[in-house]
């Protein structure tokens, strides 16, 4: 019997104001490996067809920009758009960030996200910059950076959006979300939190699952780096940060931030970095307005 035809799931991945760390983190996916994701049927019968991704794609120049545009027309309403990096919105946005050209004029990142975003099946804002502005939007936010959600709100774009923040995001958070969309469709409203983050990955505080939690409860605090004990007094933001790092661990499970004796800096939160900094100062209520209050949008 002939094998059923593989369903191709087109993906366009554009990089805006980013350090490329989100792409590098995705390459670190263990199982499935990045090769499984790009070459194999990552879900039986379904293949992620990555049509545009500047870090790995073979081609360059006009030809790849054409490929991106053609895909968005041919696969209108069927492709997934992944946005990595924040979106510069200064008056002359193309001066601050552009992707390719039309008629020898650069096309701004904001125009690309708008054009590709409105015709996509769904948009994944990958990383804290794409989700909320992130590092690029740190004060004084020189390039006027914002996240995809804010842009969509301004432009009235209603394409479903999933936020996968993290600086960088854990590869499982991204691949896991992609797999879920392929298997079960888009997440239902109750499956994401008020910031559009899948509860599967961002549903609990670091502090709730931290292996150093017992030290906190007993009031045993590390006074300097390299000491055992809870890192609260060294500035840990675990009590206000929503992610499953302590359970999932990083880089094939070998370690994670707090595991290496370094405080959590709250890199998945909408207020990162300004509301979480200074990173090595003890958390107090007055320097953290609204962080971690999941009731508020």
């Amino acid at each position: 019997m002939e094998k059923a035809k593989t369903a191709e799931c087109p993906v366009i991945w554009i990089q805006c104001a980013t350090c490329t760390g989100c792409s590098v983190s995705a390459l670190n996916s263990v199982s499935p490996s990045i090769k499984n994701v790009l070459i194999d049927e990552v879900i039986p019968g379904k293949h992620v067809n990555l049509r545009f991704q500047a870090t790995v794609m073979a081609g360059a120049g006009d030809a790849v920009i054409e490929e991106m545009k053609e895909t968005s027309v041919r696969e209108k309403g069927k492709y997934i758009l992944v946005v990595e990096g924040a979106i510069p919105t200064t008056e002359k946005a193309a001066d601050y960030g552009s992707i390719g050209e039309e008629n020898e004029e650069p096309v701004s990142m904001i125009d690309r996200v708008e054009t590709l975003g409105k015709d996509a099946l769904a948009v994944v804002a990958l990383g804290t910059c794409a989700a909320f502005g992130g590092i690029a939007a740190g004060s004084p936010n020189p390039a006027g950076c914002i996240g995809v959600g804010e842009l969509f709100k301004k432009k009235g774009i209603t394409t479903p959006l999933v936020n996968i923040p993290g600086c960088p995001p854990h590869p499982d958070w991204f691949i896991g979300t992609l797999a879920k969309v392929l298997l079960l469709g888009l997440p239902a409203p109750e499956e994401v939190d008020d910031y559009g983050r899948p509860k599967d990955f961002y549903g609990q505080l670091i502090h709730e699952n931290c292996p150093r939690r017992a030290y906190f409860d007993e009031g045993k605090f590390a006074k300097k780096f390299g000491d055992p004990g809870c890192l609260n007094e060294l500035g840990c933001k675990g009590p206000v940060t929503h992610a499953d790092c302590p359970l999932r661990l990083w880089n094939g499970g070998v370690n994670w931030c707090i595991g290496s004796g370094s405080p959590c800096i709250g890199c998945v939160e909408p207020g990162f970095p300004d509301q979480l900094a200074p990173f090595y100062k003890k958390l107090t209520e007055d320097i953290l307005p609204n962080i971690g209050s999941r009731e508020e949008v």
Partner: protein, 519 residues
Amino acid sequence: MGKIIIDPVTRIEGHLKVELITENGEVKEARSTGTLFRGIELILQGRDPRDAQRYVQRICGVCPTSHSMAATLNLDSAFGISDKIPDNGRLLRNLILGAAHIADHILHFYHLCALDYVDITKVANYQGGNSALNSIKEFIGRGELGPFVPRYEGDYRLPDEVDQQAVAHYVEALNMRRKGQEMLSIFGGKMPHNCAIMPGGVTEVPTVDKIAAFLWRLNELRDFIDNVYLPDVLAVAEVYSDYFEIGTGCGNLLSYGSFDLDGSETDLTKRSRLLKQGTVSTDLKLGELDTSKITEAVKHSWYADSSDTRHPTQGETRPEPGKAGAYSWVKSPRYDGKVYEVGPLARVVATYASGNPRVKEMVDSVLSRFNATPAALFSVLGRHAARALYCKLIADTMPEWLLQLKPGEPVCIDYTIPEEAKGMGLVDAARGALGHWIEIKDQKIASYQCVVPSTWNFSPRDNNGQPGPVEQALTGMKIKDENNPFEVVRVIRSFDPCLACAIHMITPKGRSLGEFRVC
């Protein structure tokens, strides 16, 4: 006159556009433009100095570890503790940095460069039992070749069997670079953006199980470097040997050195390092590094200041888009007024010139295989070979550092943040000489400056009209087919551009090419 525009240049870090003016198939003029601005140095102003280590890594997610090292050396120096870092701290920093560079160079050769030489579609004819190749064959059979097409066509020269093996290695290298990041995280916490490297030392404590876990990942990587990576570089060099003469560049190399062998010297230009600091030109004589000779020119950059004598710490950044005669947002760093290339080639040749017997033997054995003189190192293939040899050198040295670790002894020291201070951090990043400078006032960052490898390599002409290293490497080059300019991207990628780094501070891109627009 013809014009070739490549926008975007892909398979690099960051956003880059390259424009070439050609005449009869020869490049007459070359210029490169970054197309993204964020302004990390502006974002750093007024913040807690200790946070710099975290922010600067976000300049670049491909080479964050090198930035964390430069920032930490910079802060150590500003805090007055450069010579007080415990040996465990120094060794763990070396191991973390070494892991980053190994993973990065494997990524660079296989995933950023190889598709310029290797034709993945040749796997369609594969007959054999390699499961990775068979899955790629099946992938090709399905007819949807993203992200491997479109691409340049016409100059894939490897014989089928060698080509197919290279594709299998591309897949294996994905696992290897991931393993390198895993190895790094054992002591660094996580990747990208490690959290353990800190002023005063590191936060992670070495234990025997971690040392063993690191060692055996390292052994796998050494096996890969010796038996796959280096042989593949040589196999490509055999078939594309014309690239020993293409992309020569400026002939001057600058290295800040890397991997501290001893922490007692506070002057980083004199500190004992595995890879040596210094300058070296085609005569292979090592010159002493003197950072006071570094200046930045902006005559051809969109900045108001036209001085060419400012040290980076005195640099001004007043954007003036459309400035007459300017054509780039990248400034032009120069050393002693001359153009210098940075990168693995620079640090390997500097160490070679210092007389290091191990490096001499490694480099000479590659040169003798191709009947080449050291002059051949200044080329596209020279850069790839130097990168692979460097990878082998550090991977072979890292077990020594692992065994020098002393579990139970301190990894970092305490310090206080001074009210006012200045600092400097120098290290060779994966892509070359990386300098960070800080000024602290009221215990906060008053000013933070980075001069990064890609700013050196991708700089425009300076005040004396000297083109930057990549411009020199491209100019005069013959292009066989202007619709498929393989030569251009092979030269550019041999420098391993990192544009997020080069433009971390560079201000918005203007459109006017001013009087430089030729056609």
